[in-house]
Amino acid sequence: MTGDALLSVEDLTVEFDTTQGTIRAIEEVTFAVHPGETVCLVGESGSGKTVAGETLTRLIPTPPGRVVDGSVTFDGQDLTAASERELRSIRGNRIAHVFQNPQNALDPAYTVGDQVAETIELHRDDPNAHERAIELLDRVDLPRPATAAGKYPHELSGGVKQRVVIAAALAADPDLLIADEPTTALDVVTQAQILRLLADLQAERDLSVLFVTHDLGVVSEVADRVVVVYAGRVMERGPVEDVLEDPAHPYTRALIASLPGRGESMEPLRGSFPDPVDRPDGCLFHPRCPHAVEECRETVPPEHDVLRSRYAGESATPNRSAACVYYGENHDSAELDRGEHDATEIPAEREGDSP
């Protein structure tokens, strides 16, 4: 399935220079997005998922950010080697972004019609850009689109603004949409409408979507495949049903167990998110992992295939893996299903959260 990927990210490592030292925002992140598919990057705040999304078209500020290693291949072209000019012709045109907060994603100085038209005009001379902008506003279900096009952002609600942002993102007909928490700032009802709209647009246009979110509820609705990220490293990946219904990695399990409203009592994750400047050795999750053993402290576990699937029983499932020693050759992953290991002592809570 790697041959026909629209986007493939390999071993991507991004660092930021800060006054406290160098922060490794993402480390050796690998994933691929195929045409028409939705891949979810899932992780807590500060896990590096946003950086991963923005590094693809090099939107991260450089300096302080820089790509240390790895490659981003989009439709056969290596974007890490592309010039700024080449990237400009790709941004918006072939890879579009929708960001988290629609409140400030629209310029207060322009009408929303102008802003949708801007994306079109950035990529071609189109005298009818304004009419097309109104068509697009109609397509994202704005009532009375011609009137709405003349409104300023502060005259619109958050949900309507996010529709405008989506219209602007899709205006130049991109192949890949990077949606970074597009529904997080919205209420649940609006959230459902926006997700529905995105799904419709995706089906209509055979659009590939890289969906960045912390919300597992959203993941279950939109994703085809899931990549779970913790502190900048991929912990687990696989088809959405497998990962959510039968999580392999202890982190994914803890994440799901911390959700409210699943019948059982919710269990918050123990300990705190690692200090980005002083990251733990070995498996990044080991200080918080109830199953951690000596080996976890010493070596970074590679991604092991997870040879089980909810649907295929014990047979090997392609593209399902977890970066956990228990899935290695010398361990039995069934041990993860039996309570906690005594070998771990939980370190005291550390001050300072992730950026």
Binding site: T57, S89, G92, A105, D107, E118, L122, A168, A169
Partner: protein, 390 residues
């Protein structure tokens, strides 16, 4: 482009972007206006320089000194880049109108400034310089009387030994028998020149330096900000006084000194606003849509900091008009330039306060103007506030 554009094409169609050429420079209406205006001034200037003999008037009776050329350039830039955008953008026009309608102080201030601008440019050209009538000094304003001690014959009726003012000189006359109303109009000319030419210099330099510092950041920012901080320790007033002694006092020197030394405060405002806007979500969104740095700067950063520039500039202008009056009072000015400060100062001699109208007229004009500039500056701030009422 591939394919002809027809209406029944799908909404999202594929376009051969490879064959798209880069977009060409498309000037805004403001730039068109400014270019046309500057070209016209350039032609007139060339005509004056090459065809018209020296010390001969260019048009009518007007032999333009350098400061008038600067005023013309400033007027073109002021109309093109301040009034035209304010009037042509739906949002700003609507909000400005709302301000004028709902706030009497704003309406009065705008009205006064329009009067000053019109009388100071067009009106002055029609009315001409006030003429001296040495036989009729110290005529009182219309409907008022003057103290019998004041010298000079009385133009109006003398009733009960008291000289009454006439409508011929509605605001009275000064020691030379010059009409105070005409003097005030000539002071408007000075105020308009002083304000617009200085503002043009201030805004140009401050916007350039502030934008570059804020947008580029890093070492460039550090160097520019360091220089601005250093320059702000040089008092423009003192530099003007030194120039006034070394050369001779003139309005041009005042404008140049204050224009080139006082932009630091505005540059600081521009820089900090550019830094804030640069991090705004809509700038990130524009970049993610494929906008280059120059596009982001022209279309997203500058429009969103222009309100801050306008406000900071109006503050400077109000202060500068007062400083000019102070300089006139200290007699460090060019006495041939009849500014409000100069007229008022010349009235504060031997007969003061019996000849109070010579001081009160230009003094009130000065106060009205300074207050009006500040009130309009505040209104502009509200007009540009993104969260303000539509």
């Amino acid at each position: 482009m591939t394919g002809a554009e027809t209406t029944d094409e799908p909404l999202f169609r594929s376009v051969d972007w490879e064959n798209e050429t880069g977009r060409t420079w498309s000037p805004s209406p403001s730039t068109w206006f400014a270019l046309a205006g500057l070209a016209a001034i350039g032609l007139l200037f060339a005509y004056d320089l090459l065809v018209v003999p020296p010390n001969q008037p260019v048009v009518g009776g007007w032999d333009a000194p350098i400061i008038d050329w600067l005023l013309l350039v400033s007027l073109v830039l002021f109309f093109g880049y301040a009034l035209l955008p304010l009037a042509s953008q739906d949002r700003t026009r609507r909000r400005l109108w709302a301000q004028v309608r709902n706030r009497p102080a704003v309406a009065a201030s705008v009205a006064w400034l329009v009067v000053v601008l019109l009388l100071g440019t067009v009106g002055y050209a029609i009315l001409g310089k006030p003429t001296k009538h040495l036989t009729i000094p110290y005529q009182p304003p219309a409907f008022l009387t003057r103290d019998p001690f004041l010298p000079g014959r009385c133009v109006g009726a003398v009733v009960g030994g008291q000289c009454h003012g006439t409508l011929q000189h509605p605001l009275g006359t000064n020691v030379y028998g010059e009409d105070v109303a005409k003097l005030i109009v000539s002071g408007m000319r000075v105020a308009v020149t002083l304000s617009l030419v200085t503002a043009t210099i201030l805004v140009s330099i401050a916007t350039l330096v502030g934008t570059v510092a804020g947008f580029v950041g890093g070492r460039v920012d550090a160097i520019l900000t360091g220089y601005v901080d250093f320059q702000r320790t040089v008092p423009a007033f003192l530099v003007y006084v030194i120039f006034a002694f070394v050369t001779k006092p003139s309005l041009l020197v005042l404008i140049v000194v204050f224009g080139f030394l006082n932009w630091g405060g505005i540059a600081h405002v521009v820089r900090s606003e550019v830094k804030a806007v640069r991090e705004a979500g809509y700038v990130r969104a524009a970049r993610s849509a494929g906008a280059g740095r120059l596009h982001v700067l022209r279309h997203h950063v500058l429009p969103n900091v222009s309100g801050g520039i306008a406000v900071a500039t109006t503050r400077q202008i109000a202060t500068l008009i007062l400083i000019e009056a102070a300089i006139s009072y200290l007699e460090l000015n060019d006495v041939m330039v009849r500014s409000w400060g100069e007229i008022a100062a010349s009235g504060m001699g031997q007969w003061f306060p019996l000849n109070w109208w010579v001081v009160a007229g230009p003094g009130l004009a000065l106060v009205f103007t300074v207050v009006a500039v500040s009130v309009v500056g505040d209104a502009i701030r509200d007009v540009f506030d993104p969260r303000g009422v539509p």
